[in-house]
Symmetry: C2
Subunit: 223 residues, 2 copies
DNA sequence: TTTATAATTTAAGCAGACTTAAATAAAAAA
DNA sequence: TTTTTTATTTAAGTCTGCTTAAATTATAAA
């Protein structure tokens, strides 16, 4: 297989399946910015190629070969992201888009060489795990969206969603990056907005924002 | 413009135009491994986009905008090649193919960052000059194909053709790399094959091979 | 100059990844 | 359960970059 579109469809299916357990055509369409009709079309082709199991109106599932393929794409993407941040010095809000192009245009040999150069990184700049050459995915500690924390709870940022450049840029302004500690000072019930403390400074953030930041909780004083 | 094929056509036109002064559809077709009909087709599109001047049966010429575009593609390609060799440690016979994919999938920002990382290299691993961001192409000293040297002449390898992996691999076996010195010990008239000396060792090479190695001559003893 | 060969272009058509509009099935609301 | 809304699929068609086969022009040979 030789095809950027198919690679993207499979990556998206894999990621959804992994996080939400299932995936529907509408979600794929939204993520890839195509019409739902285009998705139906491609699903049929992926089924013929034996990358997915697909019965119309029923759910979509990767076959072992589809999963292997998708994991490799995710691996490529995330290794490029680490490379772009660590070696090239690109900021974390730019690496996703760039990696999304590069992931389709490199040999496995190059990816493996980059992995060595980077000393086998386990996580990408946004905290997502990097599958090994053999397809093993590093285990992550349990985490919650920041929006689920209660007043007085605190924890470490272990992952952020990586798909919105503006969002990541804003996080940087707030001083939020991986492995920083965040404390929830206040939580307002009427809109679920939060007052958080990070590096001694306090900020008000919306629920929407908090839903895209993931925290490994440490219960602390007075919880 | 957003298109791998068009990028390749423009690169090829530029390179031919630069080396041979002119370019014909047949040569493009051979280089890109497509039919001549496909070339005619694309030439029309490139003319509409104002990248080339094209009248049928007459010669093909890049417009200023086409030239600018092509130079940028060549720049991308060659910066990737240097990167792959110097940073990733990929052998020189592998970098061309890999760079050929990457060149279509990176932002100008990434290319510029790589250039800085590599400290503004002027030549790629095969001795081809790397255009600057502004489109300036480093001047190369005059060189000749090794096949043009006469018995007793010697010189430095300053460029090799980069498009055949096997060829480059074989050069490596012979110990031929950039900046090595080659001496022509014998030249046989009937087939123009050469006996050359490099690093103290002697080898017989065909005319074909010698035509793809480029030498900056130093006239030495008894010339 | 005429004839043969080679290069180039035109014509018709295909495959992939899309689109819009219409039809159908599933899910949610009444 | 019936109705309404939403999700999904089908149908028909577009656009791009190719293909093969046939026609045309240019070049080389006689
Ligand atoms: Mn990413
Ligand atoms: Mn990421
Ligand atoms: Mn090259
Ligand atoms: Mn090169």
């Amino acid at each position: 297989m030789n095809n950027i579109s198919k690679e993207d469809y499979l990556s998206v299916i894999f990621k959804f399946q992994n996080r939400n357990g299932e995936i529907r055509p509408k979600a794929i369409a939204q993520k890839l910015q195509v019409t739902q009709a285009a998705v139906t079309d491609m699903l049929k082709k992926l089924a013929i190629d034996n990358y997915i199991l697909y019965e119309k109106y029923k759910c979509i599932r990767l076959t072992p070969s589809g999963e292997e393929f998708a994991i490799n794409m995710v691996r490529r993407h995330r290794i490029w992201e680490v490379f772009l941040q660590k070696v090239v010095g690109m900021p974390w809000d730019k690496v996703h888009e760039e990696a999304h192009k590069l992931e389709h245009s490199s040999s496995d040999d190059l990816i493996n060489r980059l992995e060595v150069l980077l000393r086998y990184p386990e996580f990408d700049p946004h905290g997502d795990p990097i599958p090994s050459k053999e397809g093993k995915i590093p285990k992550i500690k349990k985490y919650l969206p920041l929006s689920d924390l209660k007043e007085g709870e605190s924890g470490t940022v272990v992952r952020v969603n990586d798909f919105d450049e503006q969002f990541l840029n804003y996080l940087t302004e707030l001083g939020i990056s991986l492995y920083e500690i965040i404390l929830v000072k206040e939580k307002r019930n009427f809109d679920n907005s939060l007052m958080i403390q990070i590096k001694g400074k306090q900020w008000n953030i919306s629920q929407k924002l908090a839903e895209n930041i993931f925290i490994e909780i440490k219960k602390v004083k007075g919880a």
